[in-house]
Amino acid sequence: MTERFADATGTSLVGGTERHAAQSLRALVIPVLAMGAVLALVPFWLGDSRVLMTVSILGLAFACYSIGFNLIFGSTGQLFLCVGALAGIGGYGAAIFADTVGLPVIVSILLATLASSLTGGLLSWIAVRRSLGVIFTGIVTLIFALAFQNLLLGLGDLTGGESGFLIESGADSFLTSRIPAFYLMLGLVLVFMVVHGLLRRSHVGWAFRALRDDEVAAELAGVHVARYRVYAALVGAGMLGMTGGLYALTQGRVSPTTYGFAEVDVVVIVMLAFGGIGSLFGPILGAVTFTAINELLVDLGHLRLVPYGALVIVLFLWIPRGVIPTIRDRLRQRRRQRS
């Protein structure tokens, strides 16, 4: 298709890209909505069980976390090991603004999202300014995540320390009943996917791909690498913060383990690496799969980590690039063989 357009004259080429853009918008929204429709059936299946619905809501929250992390790491190669901490800024921020300060719930969530977004942007700016590589960005953000956990424990008067605290705002609203909360989180997943998809299709997406494939070449071609990295971190961290805040309100409580490194970051990395780093649907596939696996193995207690870890090893040996890119490549290969 593109080859044919390349042969055509300039004007038809422009017309072609416009048509292509319109098609690709439809090509983005339709699969996202279709996936949303399938996931929307989950409450009809599991709606009677409060426990399973809570698990599903957590699964959707993880899908959102994975999308945010995918935007930061998958699109611009910044290994942020502070997914939990950024979500925690959203969660604790929303809870403190709403309960302690007494702001309306929506304002609190927006403020907390802003705080998380700015923190992510700042971390990215520091990493870009000091031109830290993947591993060093990882370590600095990991250090930030550990410091954040420690602050939560230390500032016990504000955060409730080890046991966390119950959020009173919104406790009687629809947020704490399971089925509306499920649809709220599902809506968030779909919005994030569309935002991510649109970003990929815009000039921002081209810049992301260029700087991820070859940073020096991108810089030489006029891509402002530093600026796009910070953009990605601002948007991605905002997503993480908003998810953390909304999730906290649907649970009615926050605690340090809700946003712990082992509880959030490790899981998100595994989910994303399984689904496919950089792909649009990878985060959702990973989140659904690993939430289901985790739930199926829940009776094993601590022993559950054994098959979980073994699965991680086998999956990464077998499909190191993740399920969705691997399938896409296989399909493309087969199409090429046929033609």
């Binding site: 602050l151 054994v306 990464f316």
Partner: protein
């Protein structure tokens, strides 16, 4: 003040040793082993189980060291094979994910099988006076052991042909291959070393406080931070970074309080990385 500095040095030596095993493997193979803490815990459990079976302490300690080395060898022969086939950042990332999987398996099994186990080696006898400060005997013995281990490491790297061969691979793998050094053999040796070092970490820590089954993850994270501050691939950097961070930590604990001390430690680490991204004694890439 002397007491605080001395405590800081005891802690710093522990930090330094933690980082040594991790930094060697990273420097040589570009592999980030996130199951490092789990190797330490497995060795500790081996000592605990053999001691419970009635084996004398010294033999049990020997078994712990052998266990660490064996696990290192097993790592090299199994999980690291596919990792070696990759290059650069893809290698680091895959090693991170695969060893994380191993860490899950080990942690899951140990916390299920021995949920409350913890190794603590009691060193008998009263405190020893050092520069007028009474120090716990366990701290002194542990620190001496660590100093001896570091001495052996330095002697190995500077004084022996094998050690120099290993260093040449760290500096230039291709060049080393050209002069007839087998990099994969050096890697195998270093992984065994790293496993033994993890076992020594567990043993010396257990002289001061118990090493529990769940300690693996925190050992790895701490080792990672010290490693990066010291400079990836540099044993002397690990030693220096460990001492500095240890002293900072105890100073902060006694003057400011425990809650902020870890944050100060973390900030100190972050600042070092930001000022010198290659670490204190790391080689600029």
């Amino acid at each position: 003040m002397t007491a605080i500095i001395l405590d800081g040095i005891v802690l710093g030596l522990q930090f330094g040793l933690l980082a040594a095993g991790l930094t060697l493997v990273y420097g040589l193979g570009g592999v980030l082993n996130l199951a490092y803490g789990q190797i330490a815990v497995l060795s500790a459990m081996a000592v605990l189980l053999t001691m419970d079976a009635g084996v004398p302490v010294f033999a049990a300690v020997g078994i712990g060291l052998v266990t660490g080395g064996l696990i290192g060898l097993i790592f090299d022969q199994t999980i690291l094979r596919p990792i070696y086939r990759r290059q650069g950042e893809a290698r680091v990332l895959l090693s991170l994910l695969l060893t994380l999987g191993v860490a899950f398996v080990v942690d899951g099994f140990l916390t299920w099988r021995y949920p409350f186990a913890g190794l603590s080696l009691q060193i008998g006898g009263g405190p020893i006076d050092l520069l007028g400060v009474p120090m716990r005997r366990g701290s002194i013995v542990g620190s001496v052991v660590i100093l001896v281990v570091f001495g052996l490491l330095f002697a190995f790297f500077r004084g022996t042909t094998l050690g120099r061969a290993v260093r040449s691979v760290i500096e230039d793998e291709e060049g080393a291959r050209l002069v007839g050094i087998d990099p994969s053999l050096m890697l195998r040796i270093i992984l065994v070393f790293s496993g033994v070092l993890a076992a020594v970490v567990a043993l010396t820590q257990s002289m001061i406080r118990p090493v529990t089954v769940t300690a693996g993850f925190s050992i790895t994270v701490l080792a990672l931070i010290v490693t990066v501050v010291g400079g990836l691939g540099s044993v002397s950097g690990a030693f220096l970074a460990g001492l500095i961070l240890g002293v900072i930590n105890t100073l902060a604990t006694s003057y400011i309080g425990t809650f902020l001390s870890l944050i100060i430690l973390l900030v100190a680490a972050a600042v070092t990385i930001l000022i010198r991204p290659s670490g204190l004694l790391g080689v600029k890439e």
